[in-house]
């Protein structure tokens, strides 16, 4: 802690939330904690199906070919009784590349289904360290290709298909969008990168600032990237699809929405990615919320700053989906 740089203070409402929930999850996640974290459901959990039923959303699980043709699952989520063709969202969930399932981040896109009439396809990509890079991003890409190929039967207008993900899912969404560009994959109308995890190199000021504090600190981030990349982390042997921050050519990518907090590890890589997109002539909208720790909109959705974050994000999605 002694070497930690001075960081922007947390927003007071977020600081208060951390004071209550800080003991649920330590700031630093180390590799030996992965099995335990995978077991433990948070005490605040509601079951997915209860949440979906309450929101009037139908769920259909489909087994599809993933990376190398192995079977993976996706869930197709849409408003109950929805007919016809409308916007689509391909979703890649968060969890540091090591945790979570395809319903993590449900609250991010629930309103896109109920209010914008979107069909969401959310993919159960395989997790590191058991399935290291390129499994996660290649599973996601396979899911995107499947979604585009089945757009008609899913009720998705191929011109209004976007990709979205938060945290590790944001990094996977950015990497998947790049794969789609480079391998002649589906055209995307937009990429929603919610506090995305983009850079394995651990060299930003923000990662040095968020060390032993907040949510998903420097140690946790190294744990996640090391699980994904093993000894390759931080070396020249990392693809741009695994760590999109390394890409030098961002031209031809879909318009991007990027948001993050000013007090999180990903701040600097997220701001740099938005800047690089603009420099490559790609449209991007960037929001850095002052005093926000990682994932604050999920942990403290009642706060003024979380509501502002969600409103800005939903506004972008509404514009891109043509709602």
């Amino acid at each position: 802690m002694a070497d930690t740089l001075k960081r922007p203070p947390f927003d007071p409402e977020l600081e208060a939330t951390l004071a209550l929930l800080g003991d649920q999850l330590p700031p630093s996640i180390t590799p030996e904690m992965i099995p335990l974290l995978r077991q433990g459901a948070s005490p605040f959990d509601l079951s997915v199906d209860d949440v979906l039923a309450e929101a009037g959303i139908a769920r259909r699980d489909v087994t599809i070919p993933g990376h190398d043709g192995d079977e993976i699952q996706v869930s197709v989520l849409s408003r109950q009784g929805r007919t016809g063709i409308g916007p689509g969202v391909f979703h890649t969930h968060g969890g540091g590349m090591i945790l979570g399932d395809r319903f993590v981040g449900l609250q991010h896109f629930l309103r896109w289904i109920t209010e914008f009439d979107a069909v969401v396809v959310t993919v159960e990509y395989r997790l590191a360290p058991e399935f290291p890079d390129p499994f996660p991003v290649r599973d996601c890409y396979a899911g995107l290709v499947w979604t585009a190929e089945h757009a008609d039967e899913l009720g998705i207008d191929p011109d209004r298909l976007i990709i979205a993900g938060a945290s590790a899912g944001g990094g996977l969404a950015a990497g998947t969008a790049m794969l789609a560009r480079d391998e002649g994959g589906p055209a995307l109308a937009g990429q929603v990168l919610i506090y995305p995890m983009l850079d394995d190199r651990d060299q930003t000021i923000s990662t040095a600032q968020i060390d032993g504090v907040g949510v998903w600190d420097r140690t946790s981030n190294i744990t996640g990237w090391s699980a994904l990349l093993g000894d390759r982390r931080g070396t020249a042997d990392v693809s741009v699809y695994a760590a999109p921050a390394r890409a030098t050519d961002l031209s031809g990518l879909p318009p991007a929405f990027i948001d993050c907090g000013s007090a999180e590890v990903f701040r600097d890589e997220d701001v740099a990615y938005a800047t690089a997109l603009w420099q490559a002539g790609v449209q991007a909208e960037l929001h850095v919320w002052p005093g926000g720790f990682h994932g604050f909109d999920m942990m403290a959705p009642h706060t003024a700053i979380a509501q502002a974050m969600v409103a800005a994000r939903d506004s972008w999605v509404a514009r891109v989906l043509g709602d």
Binding site: P12, E13, F44, S47, S167, H302, Q307
Partner: protein, 332 residues
């Protein structure tokens, strides 16, 4: 919905979670939020609509953090069965229908306190001026302006007493304010050079009014050194010991003498307190209600365990310092 992180939701309706309620509002007050955020906090913790009317403004917020304007059950009229409290210039309440939850009263209490604090912080209020006058981070000029608002002469010798919030004082007697410190919210009260205060309280060293931050700093330190919940520790009585304790705070937890005391149980520490303070072992035995020879044996055993005799002259100094440092380390 298996999340990487939990989500802040309403507290358990059955189990009392006082510490969480206090921690939440303390953090908000320390962060300098407005009334709206305080009401939002009460709503999310209680899981029901919370409200505050301050002067002519009414704030109502639902547990999802949304402002409520339309579905007012009443026109700002507080139902008799709702948990509610009056504040300086209005009321706060929870719109709880059905049985009360375990934390409702605590939430309303802390909301009331916090809304009053936020109100008192408005420039021009006496509490705000005192907060400035004892704040080491303000420059001398700002503090002088605050003193003149408090009608205190900069050259007058004063002391600050630090009190836990639970200790109700007659606040109209002397200027007082509530301050967020690393040790939670504390009440700071201005005391004249000879004024007395009842415990629990820590009293700071006397200082010219324009040097009150030092009196407040030593008052907080003294409060943290309280041996029990009713006494008063006066920093001026501690002299160089206070300076030593203050200088050693950062390394206190690693001091072997402090660690040795921490390992003992409360009863053994009480025995040591008496042994170190009493005129004789016999007098200590009487005070502790123990047989003289039993205490004698206990004294020898404890001397062995500590590696020094707390009744010898150097041992007493060693014990007293370690004992005070342990209080700093052990306090939350």
């Amino acid at each position: 919905m298996q999340e990487l992180v939990g989500r802040l939701t309403a507290l358990d309706p059955e189990a009392s979670e006082t510490l969480k309620v206090v921690a939440y509002f303390d953090a908000l007050v320390a962060g300098g939020v407005g009334v709206q955020a305080l009401v939002r906090g009460a709503a999310v913790l209680s899981g029901t609509v919370a409200g505050a009317s301050v002067g002519r403004r009414t704030h109502r917020v639902g547990p999802d953090g949304d402002r409520r304007t339309d579905d007012a059950a009443t026109d700002g009229e507080i139902q008799r069965h709702w948990p509610a409290r009056s504040i300086t210039d209005g009321n706060v309440w929870l719109e709880r229908e059905g049985p009360r939850h375990a934390n409702d009263d605590m939430i309303v209490e802390r909301l009331a306190l916090a809304v009053d604090l936020v109100g008192a912080r408005r420039p021009g209020e006496a509490a705000s001026a005192l907060e400035t006058a004892i704040d080491a981070k303000r420059d001398a000029e700002e503090r002088r302006v605050a003193l003149s608002r408090l009608r205190l002469s900069p050259s007058r010798d004063l002391r600050i007493a630090a009190l836990p919030l639970s200790h109700e004082v007659a606040v109209d007697v002397a200027p007082s304010t509530v301050v967020a410190t690393p040790y939670g919210l504390l009440r700071a009260v201005v005391l004249g050079a000879d004024e007395k205060i009842s415990g629990p309280a820590g009293v700071g060293v006397p200082r010219r009014a324009d040097e009150l931050p030092e009196s407040f700093r030593t008052a907080v330190l003294a409060l943290r050194l309280l041996p029990d919940n009713s006494s008063v520790v006066d920093a001026a009585d501690l002299g160089v010991v206070l300076a030593a304790v203050s200088a050693m705070e950062q390394v206190a937890a690693q001091q072997p003498d402090v660690v040795a005391l921490a390992r003992l149980d409360a009863r053994a520490r009480a025995v040591l307190d008496e042994l170190a303070a009493a005129e004789s072992v016999r007098a200590a035995a009487t005070a502790l209600g123990m047989h003289h020879s039993t205490l004698q044996a206990r004294h020898e055993a404890l001397t062995n365990e500590l590696g020094y005799d707390p009744r010898s002259l150097p041992g007493r100094a060693r014990f007293q310092l370690a004992r005070l440092l342990l209080r700093l380390v052990a306090a939350p």
